[in-house]
Symmetry: D2
């Protein structure tokens, strides 16, 4: 894999990342961790085990002689989508596995942590360090998904539980302005310093024309204005496919929003709260982001415009939908084997998001990082930045 | 409600029935009790709470002055299908509720048990005794459903857990013979001694023609002969609708059966075991029961034939599919209000089963008891008795 | 097959029945005859060909030496559900066959008519006469289905075409009264005089209790009262399954009814007309018939009550939903081979209708005739008679 | 609309394009023209009427004083997806309309042709000429869709009819080679000479890196090699979404291919024929085109690469799947009103195809023309050109 690690992995870093996953889950009850309320959600217990299996499968089993697998069945239970590695429980059936219990999965984590710590202590080649680094980046990606999934599990039941883990959006307090970028040739993609995923590689030139981009995310107040102006009732703002989605799902507002006595409330991981107009709007589909921009007479930036302009604005609170489809960079090639299934096979019918979010693990995301989701997804912490 | 209680309810009987529900669940983990792997399955936690809510709603709230409801939201969470009582969590969404936790539900049970014990101690009118009796019968029905649902939850995941609760079929060791019943007028329905459900009432006359009925249930060995003879591949034995079901679901054997190295194995609550040819076959749909009988050149009895002949054979291991649709007896009338929703509204597109099963609670079932399910259901402990 | 023909078939009768099918279709355009707007509808061209294929397959191919099949592919195209006869175009795909054209199908009809006329002229054994008789009865059944299907094809497009074929309901002008029938043993089933289907055979005794039955069908005026009283909004009147059907299909009135400027209009084969309050209500599901009766505080008769009481009232305008499931009579046995697929394999999850309709071919229906449909069907000419 | 017509429309050109549509349909029977075997297919009669309605709605009704609409209901029947123009028959219900008949639709065409010919004779402004030009381009697009739809209607029924209209692929007889294109800035988009659609406008610069592109389309022989090598069984070649599509639809070969006695046959509009290895492969999804390229160790070109390289190779037999998602060019803006719904609202989850096909009307397509379809579509005349 052409991803790069300049430093070797420290045991401390390894354990810190692993610990973070458990921190996210610390206020979950055993009842919370096994269900799968929608196919795109995975049970938290599955995340806890699957990230562990990744290290067991790709590091310990491969490289530590005499490694004793914790449980022979776990590879079958907790493989995600690596067809190369063997059969697995189908994605839609992850929520059927009540066993192993949360306790057993935590023991699995402890066992693998101990084994891998010892393995690291003995020193690792650059190749193996790279794989461990991917495992940690992978775990951080699952940390973010864990937060989406917990929110979905909590937000879709009548008691709206609170998660004891700090996730808090902030208002962006500067006056809005549109930053101007000049036409020309720009370089896009990762510069090979520090870790990156294969889809960021192949730094290459693109030609951009003059454009302007907002220094701020769209706020709840602005979004409520769109709702109040009938944005969800006027097909002119929408893609045909987006309009069908609005009709079929009776969409009227972002996910987790409820109108109570004429006021917009929403479920957050801190509880069921009044929507704060100053905060950036989140949990919108690409379709909604696009329609909002149309209504404003503007558009969404491309991922290339975003990457070029990003040094000039703050980002990182919400993943920003771009108007770029998720496609390979020039000279992109899938690596062989299981790790090659990581990115390339998703490069159709998905849109790129840039920037990171409050749910993203620290130091995980960079300005060249390409996140991607289907345009109808909204359980992620997505947001909107306008361009023109 | 025209159901009859001759005796008043004792606190001991109340607590015994309630305790039985917890006994069934005692080896479940918290992870096991919240999931709903199919729409017809309810999470065990839901059964535990719903049966409790029944007493709270129909007895304590109604008749005990100053009763303080345990949790105002529980009526919404744990109502099943009593439209008259208010809105409720949709059946298909029971598996979304990870909260309240199992622990909280057990506290809810303890609270209602204590309150109702005290309420009973003060003496109850016949009307109220009747309602409590219905609550206990209702809880016993849910005890049976609990066993079906736990089996489905355990049987649909790769680790095949064992339930610590005795459920064991026995071989029927007498030689098979066909009992002969003479043509004539017979009386059908409950005789008003002891408890019964409203659908059994209206004892009435039916005219039966000569028929014969087996003294035994069909065994696994006989059923394997049907499979081996190509029973699942020959449409001639099947209802058109049953044949579609076989094709669409790629049916090849009863539920929980797996062919391993050429041998039939099946998941039971005691583990993953070799199919024992001497035991009665179970977990078959009505379609399969009918097709098996056709293949044998025989038929299933009607529920009237079954009721008339039942004193002459042993029953109670498995619910026996009859060839009778679930329809009202002459003069059947739905009672007003919520309890009227118990039976009458299901009297279309379901088939009657008679006899009780190893999962049926003791003293719950009688020879006039009419169980009923859609013909494609097979997670119940169903069996086959032949007639001709 | 145990169906009985007392007389041998005349060429005139054969041609008269065959001609009737073409009369029904005479005002259809070629564009009308190939589409299948719902799976339960067959294209008119298919009916024209399939009824012809029946005679070709079961009479000419079997019994006329040197018979030359009109087109070898037609058996594949126009078999309906006789699995025994060979592969066939799936029911849901009948509407894909634009070829052969209507003209070719009419030539097919003429060819088979000529061949079979000549075959009949030479005299036929009782066995063969019986099969031809079944073919004619079969064609008459398809004549009725043709009318349902044409109405569905015409009623589901914006131009509401008129069919040039007389179908007209009449008001029942006598005062309503409830006929009283005494408890006792009655005989049910066909008496073997004249033709009948296998499902009517096995004349047998049933025991009926005292009941009353209306001398009239429910009118549109009475049904509008049910609608206006909120019948479609109150779950108490409905089977649970019926209530789901109402919700899922947003049912508010019988099929083909439209509210225009506050008045009920409906599509009939004579055009788009104001609903006439004096005429019997039609195009209702079993669920609606049941709910209407519940709302009235009455019930639907069983098919046995209906058969016993039928000499005392007029019937034949609409098929009357009974509260009887379609089940075999005692001693019913499926005949071997393809003709055995006619009735028996539908004996699950269907309800019996009795009496015939204005769309029924003359002399086709008798008081013992058992029609049957799934309870959610409403494109047939169904009606409601109350009992209590 | 910013599309450009340099010349004014001649009556001859108008009638020639209109006549072409009827030529395509001349061997269709009335039975063929009303059905809709899949939602993405429109009945041929609908195409005939809809293209006519376009001229009536956007030209005659708007600009010809005293124009008498042929039939007031036709706007409702034959609008396609112009939400701005009013309600319309839903796309999935086009196949329900057996009326008006083919004959009436042909009369509608004649009426509008006569009216518009006269209208043109009087001279038209550039604005109106532009709209008529769009109407003609629109009709040519429907001519191509007509051919796809007729093929689908004919290819999905057992009799495989032949269309009397010349559609014939040719072998590309030059030796295969890969053309080399140098890195640099290139101009993309329409140069404003002659007609174009709005999605081609906004000629702009892109930066391309070195690439190579084949001078030929992939042949049936090459594609059969992919099949024989297990291409449809190895997930490694496929997008995750493509692999799901293969599994769910049991895909084993291009559309219309059937394996008969070990040989590949396929339905073509000239009949059911042996697959000719020398001809270019067609009727593949984007998923298949991508998987084939992966298997070859190559890739599909982007639409920009294709446009830049296209002067160096022959094209026009098949629409060539590119690896570019259908997205707006810089500065793309939707025009106001109904015509603005033409292109922009489809710019999500579709892939661009370039080049034209044997089903494309003469003079309709240019090297900047951007066709687009969902990646799972294969009833179009699609093909594969490799790049690396
Ligand atoms: Fe993963
Ligand atoms: Fe219950
Ligand atoms: Fe038939
Ligand atoms: Fe169009």
């Amino acid at each position: 894999m052409e991803t790069i690690t300049r430093h070797s992995i420290s045991k401390e870093r390894f354990l810190e990342v692993r610990h973070q996953t458990e921190l996210i889950c610390k206020s979950l009850q055993a009842e919370d961790v096994s269900i799968q309320p929608a196919e795109f959600v995975s049970p938290p217990k599955w995340h806890l085990a699957h990230t562990t299996w990744f290290f067991e499968q790709f590091v310990l089993t491969e490289y530590q002689s005499d490694y004793k697998v914790f449980n022979d069945d776990f590879a079958y239970y907790f493989n995600s989508y690596y067809n190369n590695v063997g059969k697995r429980v189908m994605r839609a059936e992850r929520g059927l596995m009540t066993r192993p219990t949360l306790q057993e999965v935590l023991e699995y984590r402890a066992y693998v942590n101990a084994q891998l710590s010892e393995f690291i202590s003995k020193g690792t080649s650059e190749d193996i360090s790279n794989i461990i680094e991917i495992g940690l980046q992978h775990e951080q990606q699952h940390q973010e998904l864990l937060i989406y999934d917990i929110k979905y599990i909590f937000g879709n039941q009548p008691s709206f539980p609170v998660l004891d883990y700090k996730i808090q959006l902030q208002a962006e307090n500067e006056p809005q302005k549109f930053l101007q970028i000049k036409e020309g040739i720009y370089e896009i993609g990762h510069n090979n310093e520090g870790f990156c995923f294969d889809n960021e590689l192949g730094r290459h030139k693109v030609y951009l024309h003059d454009f302007e981009i907002s220094n701020q995310l769209v706020t709840n107040l602005e979004y409520i204005a769109f709702i109040d102006a009938g944005g969800y009732e006027d097909f002119n703002y929408w893609h045909a496919e987006g309009w069908d989605f609005v009709q079929n799902n009776d969409l009227k507002a972002p996910l987790y929003w409820h109108k109570v006595d004429g006021k917009w409330m929403h479920y957050t991981l801190n509880g069921f709260l009044k929507v704060d107009g100053d905060l950036p709007v989140t949990h919108v589909t690409f379709y909604e982001a696009f329609a909002f921009a149309q209504w404003k007479g503007m558009r969404l930036p491309t991922e290339f415009e975003w990457e070029v302009a990003s040094p000039k604005f703050n980002y990182g609170q919400l993943w920003e939908w771009t108007n770029s489809a998720y496609l390979p960079y020039p000279n992109y090639t899938k690596v062989d084997g299981a790790l090659g299934e990581y990115n390339g096979k998703f490069m159709v019918n998905q849109m790129v998001l840039r920037g990171g979010s409050v749910a993203t693990s620290k130091n995980h995301c960079s300005p060249t990082y390409r996140n991607f989701f289907q345009p109808d997804m909204r359980w992620l912490f997505s947001g909107i930045r306008l361009a023109k």
